[in-house]
Amino acid sequence: MANKTVANEHHGFPWKHLIGFVLSIVLTLFALWIALETDLSLTWILIIIFGFAFLQAALQLLMFMHVTENSTKSNLTSRVQIGNILFAAFVAIVIVIGSVWVMTAGHAKHDKDQHAPKTENHENHGGGSEHDSGEHGSHE
């Protein structure tokens, strides 16, 4: 990879771009189809569509943004670029999954233990079973 000069593939027809574009369209439509037209469980739908999203992001980075490209003879710059983007992706995943996990797992427990006295919970997300102790049923 270190010896591959960056410009060589740029004199002919832009196959890399075209392939990246077509694959992106296929992944987009396939994700939409999986999400809206199949009867898979929510968990599987989420795994598949997020898998496709990361795949498509990788396509953009590789086919359009030339993340593996080296500006010098050594392959240092491409390693810094790839390492930086991978680290950013790691940070992003930790922030998102960490936040969701903390706020949903922790919150549900809090609701049950304290019985959330002040929040008039209009949200109907499983609210029926949580409020069947009587004191909140008055506003019906």
Binding site: A35, L36, Q60, M65, I95, V96, E123, H125
Partner: protein, 206 residues
């Protein structure tokens, strides 16, 4: 300044000056920070996306047609932006400017449909203050839209510079950096498409 650097004749213009190389590398690092920025907005959105208060649920108002139009406009603009850089590396200034102009047109089209969609949501009773979920939605998607808006001005100005000064190591590095920025906006949109729209519609219907 202009000490003779020896180059492989295949080295693209944007990598020929030290400034160009460092600016491009620096921009990759900036994109890493942008990923972290959007991650915090995604996290906020995903934590709050069920907190709809008295307003409509998110998935209730999302429409596949508008979503697909926006997605394909932005995806195609990312492709044409790649073609522009491809032409730049063949030293074809006219091709570069043509493809970049098409990219900008597609970007403007994306913004038009996004604004139409926002107005539609507001009309249906979901604005930024309606509920925590809609606040998260408008801040996340709006931040992306603001990035696209900024990108349109930035690319326009860089193109004016290219038209005036031609392709030099300096201008070509600027074009390349704006292309990275533009592709990055499409990468963010992929995740908005998935985490906001698809997830919103799936959880609403399912």
């Amino acid at each position: 300044m202009a000490h003779a650097e020896t180059h492989d004749p295949n080295t693209p213009l944007e990598y020929r000056s030290e400034t160009g190389r460092l600016n491009i590398l620096g921009f990759w690092i900036f994109l890493g920070a942008e990923i972290a920025l959007f991650a915090t907005l995604f996290a906020t959105y995903m934590v709050l996306s069920h907190r709809v208060a008295d307003g409509p649920a998110l998935g209730e108002l999302f429409e596949v047609e508008s979503l697909l139009i926006q997605t394909f406009l932005l995806l195609t603009s990312s492709f044409t932006c790649g073609l522009a850089v491809h032409e730049m590396r063949r030293h074809n200034v006219k091709g570069l400017i043509t493809w970049m102009a098409i990219t900008l047109g597609l970007g403007l089209g994306f913004l038009y449909f996004e604004i139409q969609e926002f107005l539609h949501f507001i009309h249906e009773g979901a604005n930024i203050g309606t509920s925590a979920a809609w606040s998260g939605f408008f801040v996340l998607v709006g931040t992306h839209g603001a990035h696209v808006t900024f990108g349109i001005f930035w690319v326009t100005m860089v193109l004016i510079q290219v038209a005036k000064r031609g392709l030099t190591p300096a201008t070509s590095a600027k074009v390349f950096i704006t292309s990275l920025y533009w592709h990055f906006l499409d990468v963010v949109w992929i995740f908005i498409f998935t985490a906001v729209y698809l997830m919103g519609m799936v959880t609403h219907n399912g």
